[in-house]
């Protein structure tokens, strides 16, 4: 233990107060500046510089899975393991390559089919960065303004809507997931056509707000985009109702939605570069 003097404690307090004031000034400047302000420009630069680090991390963490497999094999004698390893090395490499190609092919076919079915203009992209903070719901993709991606464009996975482009650099873009706390999507319940807003939350859950109390909502009901506001085309699947709570004092029921897309493990996505508004919503008739 170090014993600090009263003087050093006093100066530490002043130093802390100075840093707190700096933080508050930064917060104020952030909210007061426009979308092209210097703080946002610095942020964009930092994210562009660090985008390859996230991509490299994905490659670097692959051996960690190998370490786990190695630990599992510790019971086998080292000589046997070495012989088997040499014997199968080439075969495993080929198999892994083929399996990876097959899975990627399947995912891309599914994604391409989904986009073609709805006659949407889209550009495919790979996810190269995942949220670096517990409270962030933003991923990075490897397509930017050079490929026609711009802020506001909806982003889809094969299973449905995943989010919207919130910032675009020349060769990469940030996509805010629908589960992010600042996300809001005009939506409706497919069965009853009751409209509401699907919002993300700090916990990462998805909530459907502002649905009338009189609406009958059941777990499993599909939730799709309504097309209101013109940001997202109508009829895109968002998810399904997971559970509903309605207390007598509530103005609206609390409807938790389970996203249709696996947002945690996304690898390929499609950005709707020329999304048509007013797409025909089949309402589940097809």
């Amino acid at each position: 233990m170090r014993v600090s003097s009263r003087d050093s404690r006093g100066s530490d307090g002043l130093f802390l107060a100075a840093l707190v004031i700096c933080s508050l000034l930064l917060l104020t400047a952030y909210y007061r500046e426009g979308v092209d302000g210097p703080i946002r420009a610095v942020r964009s630069g930092v994210q562009t510089v660090l985008a390859p680090v996230g991509q490299a991390g994905y490659v670097l963490t692959s051996p960690m899975r190998g370490v786990i497999a190695w630990a599992r094999d510790l019971g086998v004698s080292r000589a046997d393991l070495e012989a088997l390893r040499q014997q199968n090395e080439e075969m495993r490499r080929r198999l892994a390559g083929l399996e990876e190609a097959r899975l990627e092919n399947e995912r891309l076919r599914e994604l391409a089919g989904f986009v073609a079915e709805r006659e949407l203009d889209a550009v495919g992209a790979e996810v190269i960065g995942r949220p670096a903070s517990l409270w962030e719901g933003v991923i990075t993709i490897d397509r930017g303004t050079e490929e026609g991606v711009s802020v506001g464009m909806p982003v889809l996975a094969a299973e449905g809507l995943i989010g919207q482009v919130v910032s675009a650099g020349p060769y990469s873009s940030s996509v805010r997931l629908i589960t992010d706390r600042r996300s809001g999507v005009a939506a409706l319940l497919q069965a009853t056509r009751a409209e509401g807003i699907v919002r993300g939350s700090l916990e990462g859950d998805l909530w459907l707000d502002y649905v009338s109390r009189e609406t009958t909502v059941s777990p499993g009901d599909a939730v799709v985009t309504s097309g209101m506001g013109g940001v997202y085309p109508s009829g895109l699947l968002i998810g399904e109702v997971a559970d509903v709570q309605l207390d007598s004092a509530d103005l609206f029921p609390r409807i938790r939605v389970r996203p249709s897309a696996q947002l945690a493990g996304l690898e390929e996505v499609a950005v709707l570069t020329g999304a048509r508004t007013g797409l025909v919503d089949t309402g589940g008739a097809e």
């Binding site: 802390l16 703080i39 991390g57 670096a132 517990l134 919130v166």
Partner: protein
């Protein structure tokens, strides 16, 4: 050189936070290496170094995300100061002290950040789920601290090599 070591620690923390942490998340829960770095610096170098490192680490964390810039700088700065102050004013000693301090200061930083976001209107707080998420992330960070703290503490005290966790603590 002496002043560069905490800066280097924060920089390494930044690289790990961006490159490695997103890929080792378990069910959406991930450790906060930047907070851990600031807290460790606070415990080893004192409250002032902790708060400065926390401010720098928080600012970097703000710039990495899409939230308001300055929010994480504020709470990480407080966490670094808190860690340094606790370590400086506690009589307890032993290997568990840094881990307990790391857990509670990380929890304070995560919960403080969430509350600050709610105050500036960036998202409502529902304490049950959010607090559980923050607590699990703090536990994960604490688990990382078991390995990282001795290494970083030794790096920060490179002029006084120590070999045991107890002495590092």
């Amino acid at each position: 050189m002496k002043r560069m070591i905490p800066a280097l620690t924060v920089f390494v923390g930044l690289v790990l936070q961006v490159g490695i942490v997103p890929h080792v998340a378990v069910a959406g829960i991930q450790p906060n290496i930047l907070v851990l770095g600031a807290v460790t610096i606070g415990m080893v170098k004192g409250p002032r170094a902790g708060m400065v490192s926390g401010f720098a680490a928080g600012l970097l964390s703000d710039l990495l995300g899409t939230g308001p810039v300055g929010a994480a700088a504020l709470v990480f700065c407080a966490a670094g100061f808190l860690a340094g102050s606790i370590k400086e004013n506690t009589f307890a000693d032993g290997w568990s002290v840094p881990l307990v301090v790391a857990f509670f200061t990380t929890l304070t930083a995560e919960a403080g950040y969430m509350i600050l976001l709610a105050i500036v209107g960036e998202g409502g707080v529902t304490f049950g789920g959010v607090f559980m998420k923050a607590a699990l992330a703090s536990l994960y960070t604490c688990a990382v601290a078991v390995i990282a703290y001795p290494l970083v503490a030794r790096f920060l005290r490179w002029e006084r090599p120590m070999t045991t966790f107890r002495r590092l603590a």
